[in-house]
C-alpha cells in the first residue's frame, strides 16, 4: 500500500492528501480501499498528491451541522479535481469559482488538519 516513504493524509491527522493508483489498470481514486474497484487487482499503491487542482463546484454552508462548526460558518465546501486525476471534497476560499486553479492549505479543526484550497496562479 505504501511506496516506502510516509504518505501524509489529512483524514489520518497529517497535512497532506493521499490518493491511490492501480498498478495493473492505472485507475486512480480517492476513497481509500485495499483493492482496485475497476479491475479487482490487489496491486494498489498509495501516493502523495501535490495538492493542486481545479474547482469543480462549490457551496457556501450557512447552516452548519453542529455547534462546533457554527463558529466557522459560513464556510465554503468544494469538489476539487486534483491534477493527479481524482476528485475530492474540501474547504475552499470564499471567492473561488468553478474552473479556478487552487492549491491546498490546512486549517486545524478539532485536531484534524482540514484541507482548504486557495486560489493560485493558473
Amino acid at each position: 500500500m505504501s511506496n516506502g516513504d510516509e504518505i501524509l493524509d489529512w483524514s489520518t491527522g497529517s497535512e497532506g492528501i493521499a490518493y491511490q493508483r492501480c498498478d495493473d489498470c492505472g485507475h486512480v481514486w480517492y476513497l481509500t480501499r485495499a483493492f482496485c474497484a475497476t479491475c479487482g487487482s490487489l496491486a494498489v499503491r498509495q501516493h502523495q498528491a501535490a495538492g493542486l487542482g481545479r474547482v469543480a463546484t462549490t457551496t457556501l454552508v450557512s447552516r452548519p451541522p453542529s455547534e462546533k462548526w457554527k463558529e466557522y460558518a459560513p464556510y465554503s465546501l468544494a469538489l476539487i479535481d486534483a491534477d493527479e486525476g481524482f476528485r475530492l471534497m474540501a474547504h475552499v476560499e470564499r471567492d473561488a469559482r468553478i474552473g479556478d486553479r487552487v492549491r491546498a492549505r490546512y486549517l486545524s479543526f478539532e485536531d484534524t488538519p482540514i484541507p482548504v484550497f486557495m486560489c493560485t496562479d493558473p
Binding site: Y30, M89, I98, I114
Partner: protein, 378 residues
C-alpha cells in the same frame, strides 16, 4: 401482475408524543381499511427505517406491535428511494406467489423526536464518514454542490429553482394535511435564509413527523386497485465525491427500464410523482427524465404545465417541499397521492383522467434511483 389495493397517509408536520411505531400503525391501519382487508389478510410486510428509532429488525418489531404474523418480512434501507424500492419488491413478491397481500409501511417522528441538529447530523451520514462528513458537510451542502455545477453547465438560475418551490406550495395549499400551506412567491424563496448556496430555506424540504403505507396485492380485489405495470432501478454511486458525473445521474436509465417494462413512453403519462427533497433535485430529475428540456423545468412550472390542469400534473399534494418529509414515508406520500389521483379520489385536487403515472424516487445524493409506472384499471 400486481395491484396497489389500498393506501394510507397521515398528515405531515408535528405529531408530538407520537412514536415511529405509532405513526406506522396509523398509516398501516388506514391502508388496510382502504383495501377492504383485515390484519389477518396481510401475509407479507416490508418496512423502511427510522432515524429516531434505529432497530436491527424494524419489520418484526412492527409486526408484533401492530398484530401481524406475515410469512415474509424485512426492512429496506435505500434513503429517499426506499419507499418505491419497497413497492418494486412487493410487486415481485406477489408475482412470485410469496405473498398475497404485502403491507408496505413507514413512519417517523423525525421532527419532534429529536433536536434539529440531530436530524441534520443523522442525514449528513449518507456522506463519507472519513472524507466528507468531517468537513462539516450536510445534506443541503451535498446538493448545493450539485446545484452550483448544474447552474454553471446549463444556465439555470436561483429564480428558476424557486419556481418549483412555489409550485409545490401552491399544490399543498389545496391539501388539508400538508405541513406548509400558505402560498409563497419566487421573491419569498429568494429572500429566505441561506442554507448551502445556492439553496435557501425554501429550496429545502422541511423535516416532518408522519407515516404512509400501501397494500400491494396479486389480485384486483377492489375497485380502487391500480396496477403496477413497470419498475426500474439504477445506482451509480453513494458519495457525491465519487459520482461519475455531477450533471447526469441514474434517473434516465431507471425510468427507461420502468417505461419499457410498461410498454409506455412519456407521452402516455398523465401524472407525475417525482422526488423533490430540494428544488435542485426535482429540477434535475424532471430534466434528466426528459419531462423538460435542460434549464426548462422552471418555465413549464411557471406556465402551468405541471399544475392540476396542465399536461403533466406533478405532486398535487405538495411534494416533500410542502406536504413534508418524514423520511421513508416522505416519498411514499407521492405514491399515495398518485393512487388517489388514478382512482378519482382527490376531490378539489382531482386531475382529469390521468390514467398512467410515472413515479421516481432518489436516495443519497442522486445516488439511488427507483422508477415505477402505475396504471388505473379502467
Amino acid at each position: 401482475m400486481s395491484w396497489i389495493t389500498g393506501t394510507g397517509l397521515t398528515p405531515f408536520g408535528k405529531h408530538p408524543g407520537r412514536s415511529t411505531l405509532d405513526l406506522m400503525s396509523s398509516a398501516a391501519a388506514a391502508a388496510i381499511a382502504d383495501a377492504g382487508l383485515e390484519r389477518r389478510d396481510i401475509d407479507g410486510l416490508l418496512t423502511g427505517y427510522s432515524t429516531t428509532f434505529p432497530h436491527l429488525m424494524l419489520s418484526t418489531v412492527f409486526a408484533e406491535h401492530f398484530g401481524l404474523s406475515p410469512r415474509y418480512a424485512h426492512a429496506i434501507q435505500l434513503g429517499g428511494a426506499t419507499g418505491f424500492a419497497m413497492v418494486m419488491l412487493a410487486h415481485h413478491l406477489v408475482e412470485a406467489h410469496l405473498a398475497d397481500h404485502v403491507l408496505v409501511v413507514a413512519g417517523e417522528n423525525r421532527l419532534t423526536g429529536q433536536t434539529r441538529d440531530a436530524a441534520v447530523q443523522a442525514l449528513a451520514q449518507v456522506g463519507h464518514p472519513r472524507y466528507e462528513v468531517p468537513l462539516g458537510a450536510t445534506i443541503p451542502a451535498y446538493y448545493g454542490l450539485v446545484a452550483t455545477r448544474y447552474m454553471h453547465e446549463f444556465g439555470v438560475t436561483e429564480a428558476d429553482f424557486a419556481e418549483l418551490s412555489v409550485l409545490m406550495r401552491g399544490h399543498a395549499s389545496e391539501h388539508p394535511d400538508a405541513q406548509f400551506r400558505e402560498p409563497i412567491t419566487v421573491a419569498d424563496v429568494l429572500a429566505s435564509k441561506p442554507v448551502a448556496s445556492p439553496l435557501k430555506l425554501l429550496d429545502c424540504c422541511p423535516v416532518s413527523d408522519g407515516g404512509a403505507a400501501f397494500v400491494v396485492s396479486r389480485e384486483r380485489i377492489n375497485d380502487i386497485a391500480v396496477r403496477i405495470v413497470g419498475t426500474g432501478q439504477a445506482h451509480t454511486h453513494q458519495h457525491i465525491s465519487a459520482a461519475p458525473s455531477l450533471t447526469h445521474f441514474g434517473a434516465a436509465a431507471s425510468a427507461s427500464t420502468a417505461l419499457d417494462a410498461a410498454g409506455s413512453t412519456l407521452d402516455d403519462i398523465g401524472y407525475l410523482a417525482i422526488y423533490d427533497s430540494f428544488t435542485i433535485t426535482i429540477t434535475i430529475l424532471l430534466e434528466e427524465l426528459g419531462l423538460a428540456p435542460r434549464a426548462g423545468a422552471a418555465e413549464i412550472a411557471r406556465t402551468g404545465g405541471f399544475s392540476r390542469g396542465g399536461a403533466k400534473p406533478l405532486n398535487t399534494h405538495g411534494g416533500l417541499l410542502s406536504y413534508g418529509h418524514c423520511g421513508v414515508g416522505g416519498a411514499m406520500a407521492h405514491l399515495v397521492e398518485a393512487h388517489r389521483q388514478l382512482t378519482g379520489r382527490c376531490g378539489p385536487r382531482q386531475v382529469t383522467d390521468p390514467r398512467r403515472a410515472l413515479l421516481h424516487g432518489d436516495g443519497g445524493v442522486l445516488s439511488s434511483h427507483v422508477s415505477l409506472v402505475i396504471e388505473s384499471a379502467a
